[in-house]
């Protein structure tokens, strides 16, 4: 049989539970703009009923705390997509810088465009054919050669500088990764100690926030371990965090660029394809820039050596037969010849326009030099077509990176939206919850007042004025 005091204690539990629920609402509202916060909902538990003579009497309610609303699978999907997306975005930024070295020529007046330079250079030999001993025409050959060499060399220099700056950024990212993995290892320990069997709430928020940050930096896989622990390995399988222990990524210089090591293994190429910012940076540094540089080197090497050979196979104005000298500095090897390309000839008289042993008015060697423009001298292509292919390769990589980036961004936005829908704080919902808990609290208070009156009546045994 129920008593008045049992009813009072029941009301008491309701008031406490409502207050605790209002606390949860207040906490949600307080964190409404906190992107790493996961919305909590009050968890109500009915108290064990009391059985008296086979009749169950309710014992009220307890609020056992807020439960974080998260979906681990969804969170992981978002993190994985973030890894791909930040890799694509870092790559795109790098490629955009590369493509600025290859401007679109709008007409013959465009400066800094290697394609125009190549054409002007070979055209200057055609013009020399009309008057092989003309000094102005010879000067023009040297000046267009200098423009060509200068532009090729400056593009190569800027690509090399970009390699250096990407290198530096990648190292910075690696050190950020290290501090995040250290922090993750600590959070893992705390979670394992405090909340081995259930969602760790705020601590889990912190862990997820670290994982989200880590996703932007590097590609990784996560494995749940016992007691709510977590292990993290790079996409290639190199362990970074094993529950409470973290493995630091170390750096070392190999062939002039920074390489990354984890546990003594060189993981550089695995990182490049793994995702995250570091993936994009390393892809640009180790694949796109070297590819463009190699093509430029081939172009510079091909033009320099072929033109030098032709110039040394004719007769110049000074009477040198077959030893008129080099126009461009002679590259020893293909690698590095773009950056080193420079005009070494200073005297325009040394341009060997005439065929070997022929007089100053002969132009057969100038014809030979001019016809290099239409000969397949570089990788089976004419110089101009070779450059055109280079432009198309660089352009293609920018264009596909742009598309990939847009697509990945869209999917990240979508996943983010799904995560926010589940875990974000909706103020309207909180307002209505608060209203509900407030009403419930008011109702319990009302019940208390009435019970109080009843209790007074019981104490006074019908004499209503003694106790009120």
């Amino acid at each position: 049989m129920g008593t008045i005091s049992s009813a009072l204690s029941l009301v008491d539990s309701a008031l406490n539970a409502d207050q605790a629920a209002l606390d949860v609402v207040a906490n949600n509202v307080a964190n409404a703009s906190n992107t790493t916060y996961t919305r909590q909902v009050p968890n109500w538990e009915e108290n064990q009923p009391i059985y008296l003579n086979g009749v169950a009497y309710g014992a009220g309610v307890t609020m056992t705390g807020g439960v974080s609303q998260r979906d681990n699978v969804l969170d992981q999907r978002l993190q994985q997509q973030t890894q791909s997306s930040s890799s694509a975005s870092a790559l795109l930024t790098a490629l955009n810088t590369i493509q600025s070295s290859f401007p679109v020529a709008s007409g013959s007046g465009t400066s800094g465009d290697i394609g125009t330079d190549i054409t002007s250079f070979f055209n200057s030999f055609t013009q020399l054919e009309s008057n092989p001993s003309s000094n102005p025409l010879r000067q023009q050959v040297l000046s267009s050669a200098a423009t060509l060499a200068g532009d090729i060399s400056s593009v190569a220099t800027s690509l090399n500088q970009q390699t250096a700056s990407l290198d530096q950024s990648a190292s910075t990212v690696a050190s950020q990764v290290n501090s995040l993995t250290t922090s993750l290892a600590q959070v893992n320990l705390q979670i394992q100690a405090l909340s081995p069997n259930q969602d760790a709430g705020t601590l889990e928020d912190q862990r997820q926030s670290d994982l989200t940050k880590l996703s932007q930096l590097i590609g990784f896989n996560q494995i749940r371990t016992e007691n709510n622990g977590l292990s993290i390995a790079t996409t290639a399988g190199q362990l970074l965090v094993s529950e409470g222990a973290s493995v630091q990524i170390t750096t070392g210089t190999v062939n002039g660029v920074t390489h990354f090591f984890a546990g003594g293994t060189d993981i550089t190429s695995a990182l490049a394809s793994g995702g995250g910012q570091i993936g994009g940076l390393l892809t640009a540094r180790d694949q796109n820039i070297p590819a463009a540089l190699t093509s430029l080197d081939q172009l510079a090497y091909g033009i320099s050596t072929q033109i030098n050979t032709v110039n040394n196979a004719g007769t110049d104005l000074a009477g040198n037969n077959g030893n008129a000298g080099d126009i461009f500095n002679a590259p020893a090897q293909v690698a590095g010849s773009a950056e080193a390309m420079v005009v070494v000839m200073t005297n325009p008289d040394n341009i060997a326009a005439a065929g070997l042993g022929k007089g100053v008015g002969d132009d057969s060697n100038a014809v030979a030099a001019a016809s290099l423009a239409t000969s397949t001298i570089i990788g089976g292509e004419t110089p101009s077509n070779f450059y055109s292919n280079l432009v198309s390769t660089v352009g293609d990589s920018v264009s596909s990176a742009t598309n990939e980036n847009t697509a990945l961004n869209a999917s990240v936005t979508q996943l983010q939206s799904q995560v926010s829908a589940l875990s974000g704080v909706n103020l309207d919902e909180e307002a209505s919850n608060m209203q509900q808990f407030q009403r419930s609290y008011q109702a319990a208070s009302q019940a208390f007042t009435i019970l109080n009156t009843i209790m007074a009546a019981a104490i006074n045994m019908g004499v209503e004025t003694a106790v009120s």
């Binding site: 490629l95 955009n96 493509q99 290859f102 679109v104 709008s106 007409g107 013959s108 394609g115 190549i118 054409t119 002007s120 070979f122 055209n123 055609t126 013009q127 054919e129 009309s130 008057n131 092989p132 001993s133 005439a354 065929g355 022929k358 007089g359 100053v360 008015g361 002969d362 132009d363 057969s364 014809v367 001019a370 423009a373 239409t374 101009s384 450059y387 055109s388 432009v391 198309s392 390769t393 660089v394 352009g395 293609d396 920018v398 264009s399 990176a401 936005t413 939206s417 799904q418 926010s420 829908a421 589940l422 974000g424 704080v425 909706n426 103020l427 309207d428 307002a431 209505s432 209203q435």
Partner: protein, 297 residues
Amino acid sequence: MRVDPFYIVNLSGALDQTQSTQQQLTNEISSGLGVNTIGQNPVAAAQNVQLLNEIQTEDSFTQTSSLSQGMLQVADSALGSVVTQLNQAISLATQGTNGTLNSSDLKSISNQIAGIRDEVISLANTSYQGQYLFSGSQTGSIPFSLNSGTSPATVTYNGDSNVSVLQTPSGQSIQLNLPGNQVFSSPSGDVLGALNNLVADFASGNGNGAPTDLANLNTALNFLDQQRVTLDNSISRLTDASSAATAESTQLLNVQTNLMQADIPAVSTQLSLTESQQTALINVIAALGSGSLFDKL
């Protein structure tokens, strides 16, 4: 289903998107180019490199060929004058060989032919912009010099037999010069030798040997005319090649313009659409951001 409480924040991402589209479209309008970076349209950018290469090569050839045409025309008109002079020499020599003239008349004919010879030598030494036209590749040295010490006088050729060519963008080679030893002192038609012999024949006062030398001069004149045809051919081929290059360059320029130019009406329309979209988006954000259930509590 629950909704994303942050969707208004996400709308600002869409706002960024419209802004960047606006920027790109404005760029296209201001530069007039539909392709501003190679990543925007790699295929067009690569084609553009090749087209510009061809256009610039054609343009440059047109300039070069006008220089060469000038030179060829000077050479041709020099040869034209030589022909006139030789015809005069032939008529003088014909007079000299008809057997009616006395020795002093013959000497006067000799002097006149000597004058013609000097004129022909000076025409053979014609230069254009400081370059001797008939000395093969030795354009820096005077091709012909006369030695009057002997009888008959002799002419020395200081040039060589090299022929220069100009290559057209389509790859054909056009001959740019005639070596002097081929035009004026070739074994098949030795103009200067025949003139010198005639001078010596008539200078002796009897005109012996003049008929043979006159016949030789006639042969030489015919041979020179043939040589001149080569030059005329070069001029007309060069003119053709040059106008072909100009026409092709114009055509390629059209192709290049079509490839690279921004479609201004289309871009403007897109721009105004994007602007409306942006305004709409801003209004939506402003309207949605202002309400919450908490206002009603």
